[in-house]
């Protein structure tokens, strides 16, 4: 069963998806559902002997285009609605024993084009308010399939973090006549201490307000509210800086570095012109604060929403900046 339950105390939707308890959990290599289907082998999600990049609807979706009726009846205090939306899986490569950071930059560039294509298509659906692309990498994050893949959630509402970011950017623009992310980019470049990498179209920084020790944000230098706003040159530049950041992560402690990669862009209830005060960006949240210590979301973070970062952004940015590749 899945449904949206309204939390009136925080004014946000909670998605229930009880069927996800049964999803595939670390299958043996011969039963990897994201691998190509080999002749005579286990029938995977992809009935072909190879592929380049594939996107398919999640077998265990939190949101679906034809959702079931809610399991309970709502009230005016506790509204309940069907969990309508789309959940997709993006398989980057048919190879199971690799990861996005290890793929050629040309492959990452192809993936950027696929993301843009999915944003364009999913945002056209009448019930979709927000298209969110992300990757969970590593057991520490709760990954249940190690095959390199990401996910796309097309929500029927604007999720709280996006709503808060967009609202803050709108208010900043109304007050100052400039876009917030443009000022952030300018200040980070001018200061330089938190810059991890940069190219002609993007910068990667440990933001001034980082919540995680090795949190990195990739920001465009120009106003681009959605991934569909990038031209081919900018898409290539995004792929290049993505690969640099992910390789730096892996080189930091000489091992595959877990993270959540979150893509933030404008909602789908308007055009990029309507959201001229906001910019697409990618945020990485790595769970480790040292090579052997995890950053747990504990009392202050989970209970009060107030993050405590055990490090200075300037320090971790310097470490990442001095880690290969330059």
């Amino acid at each position: 069963m899945s449904e949206l339950r309204w939390n009136p105390t925080l004014e946000e939707w909670v998605i229930t998806a009880t069927h996800r308890q049964d999803r595939t959990f670390f299958p043996p290599p011969d039963y990897n559902p994201l691998a190509p289907t080999m002749p005579g082998g286990f029938p995977t999600e992809i009935p072909a002997s190879t592929y380049e990049i594939v996107v398919f609807e999640n077998k265990f979706p939190s949101l679906r285009s034809d959702p079931p009726d809610p399991a309970v009846e709502g009230t005016s205090l506790f509204p309940v609605v069907p969990a309508q939306g789309i959940c997709e899986v993006v398989c980057y490569t048919p190879q199971s024993d690799t990861e996005l950071a290890a793929l050629p930059v040309a492959k990452v560039e192809q993936l950027v084009h696929v993301w843009a294509d999915r944003f364009a298509h999913l945002s056209e659906r009448s019930y979709v308010q927000y298209v969110y692309m992300f990757e969970n990498k590593g057991r520490e994050i709760g990954v249940t399939l190690t095959h390199p893949h990401g996910q796309i959630y097309a929500y029927p509402f604007i999720p709280p973090t996006a709503e808060r970011e967009v609202s803050a950017a709108r208010r900043y623009f109304e007050r100052n006549g400039r876009d917030l992310y443009g000022d952030i980019v300018s200040q980070e470049i001018e200061d330089g201490q938190r810059v991890v990498s940069e190219n002609a179209h993007f910068i990667a920084v440990v933001p001034f307000y980082a919540r995680y020790p090795y949190e990195v944000h990739i920001l465009p230098r120009a106003v681009r509210p959605a991934i569909t706003d990038f031209d081919d040159t900018e898409k290539a530049a995004l792929a290049a800086i993505l690969k640099v950041v992910m390789e730096k992560y892996n080189n930091l402690w000489q091992r595959s570095f877990p993270y959540i990669m979150a893509m933030h862009q404008r909602p789908c209830d308007g055009t990029s012109i309507d959201y001229k005060y906001y910019r697409f960006h990618i945020e990485f949240y790595p769970p480790y604060r040292t090579p052997d210590k995890l950053k747990y979301l504990a009392g202050s973070e989970a209970g009060a929403g107030a993050f405590i970062n055990d490090t200075l952004a300037e320090t971790t940015a310097k470490t990442l900046r001095e880690t290969l590749p330059f």
Binding site: F56, R178, V223
Partner: protein
């Protein structure tokens, strides 16, 4: 970048989209893609962005809008 895609349906009705990149595909990948039967006509991913401008902003004022931005409310597919 030239991109092609074929949309298929799995037995349980879920969509499955194969993306193909002719410039970098191996002969095997090209052959496999060619053999896939799409439920839609062969689609090339649109690269036709329309440039628009936003007034009152600094040098970073150009916004590119995708044709799909023009409206919402299309029939669900």
């Amino acid at each position: 970048m030239r991109i092609e895609q074929k949309k298929t349906r799995k037995e349980d009705g879920r969509s499955l989209i194969y993306y193909h990149f002719p410039a970098t595909a191996t002969p095997e990948e090209t052959a496999v893609f060619a053999a896939i039967t799409s439920i839609d006509p062969l689609t090339e991913v649109a690269a036709g962005f329309t440039e628009g401008s936003v007034s009152g902003m600094a040098e970073t004022s150009t916004v590119y809008t995708h044709p799909s931005d023009a409206s919402k409310g299309h029939a669900d597919v």
